[in-house]
């Protein structure tokens, strides 16, 4: 199982529950992420998504288990794992440009100042920020612009793994769409491995190669790994017409609506691997009218 680029092995996280006992957020979680893959994790609030991400980033220590990247155990944060935090986490006393140069300078310590600035400007323009705007402080930028700066800072560092914690959570639908497109564009150009948290099912389908579904906590499990069988390049309007779209979407909605609750709280023994789910209607003889309400055809494959 450790052939994966990123492998999460028997990860367990317990916290004191505040009443003298312990709260087990998840137990023995096991899954892998391949190089260049875009993986999205979906689950209800409080199931432990951010906890997993903080462990992947090296910002938090798991109670048990290990995370390995490229065969090496993750211990502590590293420039190889870039993080875009939910609240942007820009340094408010620095301009947008300086926030990016902060990252670039940390990565390429021997670069000249001019080169650092040039590189930072390149990445800012990739997310659509150019001209005077880049000299403004975060407080003078809109939420969407701040998030772009944060993404530019992360991408400019060329991390091997990019961790995004609900990066678009605070944005309106329109801005969200634009930045999703920009994210896809940059990701397409770099073949970076991305691990992202979201609450938005449509966003997950648009962006992901694979969606990990988490059951509710405590004792949450990464229960399923759903392949997104919609070819790239994808567009927000284009994917809706794909025969697999509604089938996948319904599966996700059902999971989050019912099964995440039904499967929760089960204290299971041994390593918990997600079940791979592949929904592909194009494989079957042409279905003239794929009724959206249909139960999707599931094919479970054990990994």
């Amino acid at each position: 199982m450790s052939k994966h680029f990123l492998s999460i092995e028997n990860l367990t996280q317990r916290f004191p529950d505040g009443q003298g006992g312990t709260l087990t957020v998840f137990e023995n979680a096991c899954f892998g992420v391949e190089k260049g893959e875009f993986v999205v994790i979906l689950g209800h609030s409080g199931c432990g998504k951010s906890t997993i991400m903080n462990i992947l980033a090296g910002l938090a220590e798991p109670t048990e288990g290990v995370v390995k990247m490229d065969g090496f155990e993750v211990s502590g944060p590293s420039l190889d794992r870039g993080v875009v935090f939910q609240n942007y986490s820009l340094l408010p006393w620095l301009s947008a440009l300086s926030n990016v140069t902060f990252g670039v300078r940390a990565r390429y310590r021997d670069w000249t100042k001019a080169r650092v600035i040039e590189e930072s400007k390149t990445y800012l323009s990739m997310v659509g920020l150019e001209g005077d705007v880049i000299h403004r402080k975060p407080s003078q930028l809109s939420g969407g612009m701040r998030q772009r700066v944060s993404i530019a800072r992360a991408f400019a560092n060329h991390p091997k793994l990019l961790l995004l914690d609900e990066p678009f959570g605070a944005l309106d639908a329109l801005t969200r769409g634009t930045i999703q497109d920009e994210l896809l564009k940059i990701w397409g150009g770099t073949e970076q491995t991305v691990f992202m948290i979201t609450h938005d099912i449509d966003e997950a389908i648009l962006l992901a190669d694979r969606i990990l579904l988490m059951t509710n906590g405590p004792f949450a499990r990464v229960a399923e790994s759903v392949e997104i069988t919609i070819p790239r390049p994808r567009t927000r309007t284009g994917i809706v017409d794909h025969p697999n779209y509604y089938a996948i979407r319904n599966h996700l909605v059902h999971f989050l609506g019912e099964r995440s609750k039904a499967l929760s709280g089960q204290k299971a023994e041994g390593p918990q691997r997600p079940e791979t789910v592949r929904i592909d209607r194009t494989e079957r003889a042409v279905d003239p009218d794929p009724a959206p309400a249909d139960t999707p055809r599931l094919r479970a494959v054990n990994t």
Binding site: A57, G58, L59, G76, P77, S78, L79, R81, G82, V83, F85, N87, S89, L91, P92, W93, L94, F102, G103, A106, R107, K137, S139, N157
Partner: protein, 278 residues
Amino acid sequence: MLGTLSVNQRAAILSIVLLAVGLLVWEAAIPAQKAAEDLTEYERLTGGGAPKAGIPPPSDVIAKAWEQLSDPFYDAGPNDKGIGIQIGYSLFRVLSGYAAAALVAIPLGFLIGMSPVAYRALNPFIQVMRPISPLAWMPLALFVIQDSELSAIFVIFICSIWPMLLNTAFGVAGVRSDWVNVARTHELGHLKTAFTVILPAAAPTIVTGMRISIGIAWLVIVAAEMLVGGTGIGYYVWNEWNNLDLTSVIFSILVIGVVGMLLDAAFAALQRGVAYVE
């Protein structure tokens, strides 16, 4: 007419009017005191009519100010130095005591702010030392240091250390963990994190502490110099009081106020320089 002026302009006009009225009332109130013929026999005997004992009119104070400020740096012996020299002595003491305090308080505050253990260990000492009037240290300082100049500086040191120490610790402890995490994910070392993330993040709180400290130091130096004597604006006030030269006393009070205001303004500017909006 007034309606077309900005708030600042109107406030400035009002300030000038208030000043003029105040000076006029003061000036007008003085001659009544001075009328020597009205004094009773008793007052004349007890020196109530002695010319120097009366409160001087503002015109005298302005004349004095003109005389002093036109030659602020003259030096005619230990008891007769220009106001500029006296202020210079006081500023030197304040700034050296203050700088020493900053050198101790800011690094120590960092340490306390970053480590809950250090905070708890040092907190009882700080709580006991902080409310002590800085002048209460004077006898001990004079005895231990055996030097009045250094003792005055020590008193400034001890009075300006607490606000800086507490504000630094408070500011550092309150730095958002998100920003520290940004430093961590960029693999910045401890020192680099302290300088590039924690210091700018806590700077507004630290500078607020520094501003409070400089205000206290300037309050304390006058009293300290009255005690140690020799030089400085505090000594000057006391000396002129002994000479019963109230014109000089009032003039130096005004100078103390103006210098204090300038010191405060400098730190206010620094505060604006390090401020940020989240």
